[in-house]
């Protein structure tokens, strides 16, 4: 990673997405719009990601997320959400092809030790797609109100 002339440890793109993240789930009420949900990560390593996707005709047309983690974790989830929604959506089969490496490339690279963060983003997406497929196998029509099958959380903060 180039450091000279930089005032930041990350790339410009990471900075941009960290300070102005795209597609954050701002309101819990929005959740019912979505028909796929994934959550990965744990508190021990310090990163948790939640992702909601809306699938129509086998295409992801909307996506929102929440992330607990460092700047690269936040930026990489934000970037992934952009990659999913930028061209009026993405086919599920194409979405499944996105790797942590692809996200990292779009971010202009990440420090070696941070790479596990971006890998988490594509995992959350895979979980969300799995969840969508599970929901969909029992409920054939997408336009019906779907009860989300929330996967058991790996870690819950103890009260």
């Amino acid at each position: 990673m180039k450091m000279e002339g930089q005032d930041w440890f990350y790339s410009k793109k990471v900075k941009e997405h960290f300070l102005k993240p795209k597609n954050i789930l701002k309101n819990e009420k929005e959740i019912k719009k979505f028909n796929g949900y994934g959550k990965v990560g744990n508190m021990k390593c310090g990163d948790i990601m939640e992702m909601w996707i809306k699938v129509e005709n086998e295409k992801i047309i909307d996506c929102k997320w929440k992330t607990f983690g460092c700047a690269s974790a936040i930026a990489s989830t934000s970037m992934l959400s952009v990659m999913l929604t930028e061209k009026k959506g993405i086919k599920l089969t194409d979405a499944l092809k996105i790797t942590g490496n692809d996200i990292m490339k779009r971010l202009g690279g990440l420090p070696q030790i941070k790479i596990h963060c971006s890998v988490l983003g594509d995992q959350a997406l895979r979980e969300a797609i799995k969840n969508y497929e599970k929901n969909n196998s029992t409920i054939p029509k997408i336009d019906k109100k779907i009860k989300l099958n929330k996967p058991k959380l790996e870690t819950k903060l103890k009260k």
């Binding site: 954050i24 508190m43 310090g46 939640e50 929440k66 607990f68 596990h116 903060l157």
Partner: protein, 412 residues
Amino acid sequence: MRKKIKQTNKWVNNVKKSIYFDNSATTPVRPEVLSEALPFFLKKYGNPSSFHSTGLEAKIAIKKARQKIAKIINCEEQEIIFTGSGTESVNLAIKGIALKEIKNALKEGRKIKGNFITQTTEHDAVIHTMNWLKEIGFEIKYINVDETGIIKLKELGQAINNETLLVSIMYANNETGVIQPLPEISKICKQKNVLLHSDACQGAEYLELDIKKLGLDLMTINGSKIYSFKGTGLLYKNKNIILEPLIHGGNHEFKTRAGTENVPGIIALAKALELSRQEKNKESKRLTKLRDYFIKKIENEIPQTQINGDKKQRLPNNINASFYGIEGESILLMLNEKGIRVSTGSACSSQSLDPSHVLMAMGIKHEIAHSSIRFTLGKTTTKKEIDYTIKVLKESVKKLRQMSPVWEEVKK
């Protein structure tokens, strides 16, 4: 006098290009310290070992610096070893004793024996040195701290036995600023006739440094934490202790640390220590007030936070706080964007992904350790800076909590 004020103002302006709350990482060099050292770069550049006037000039300057420091920490001149950093001093103290045992064991054709005792919240300089000693066959015992970060003295007493070669307990913690009760620790060590070393790098600017009052046999101090140069340090060593050197060469530093002396660095270190003694009481009082104000503001204005470490037995300049539901590095970078420089012991900003071993040793949970931020105040800190920081902090914490998947659960 006027020149001095002008110089100081210029310094403050330079430092104030940002709000610098990372004085436990390092401090800027004070102009008084720099100007004292400058001639030893440019004019009085001699090698103290040279047998001519230019060399003698440097030799005398070092002697004077050593005398000055000896007076401050209440020891004899030959008990001060100048080194290249706090970490080097720690290594010399611990390995210097271990190597002596290794040498004796080799001579006598036996296995090495003996144990070293330290505690769980030490700086990596101590912990990693101890871990290495463990690898080569010494026994290492780690004493626990309580939830406020203070060592469990009873455990220490029980751990010492007749094979203990050294106890090493830090003066003040670098992450939490928690101060260990050295005189009490020393009492235990003296009763059992065991040597005591203390890493006093963080305490040196604000705390008592009289080794007789503290009851220390070895003490580490470095320059970069007390407004002097990076790459400078010293080890106080009781004259009755013989340490095997880590660096062999000429007869420098009483044959304990070879290498041409860092003359400007030594001059600067002495000057910085001298200034810190003069200003200690007033500056400690000023910063304690600001620290408590800062803590109160955090507690009152930002919900779901906690201050880590004892609030009283703590350096006047340290605030270590956890903001539930969000991660430390994110807070650090948001503050950085607004010109505020802080630090985190948590996972992602360091080279390791584990949360702070110091906070974990205090029984703090992973998620709260991951949420911690350290603010360390300094000479240029003002109340206005704290007020601005609180404002930015409030906004940043709110923004990050909005995007946190655990915040809703934490709030409950």
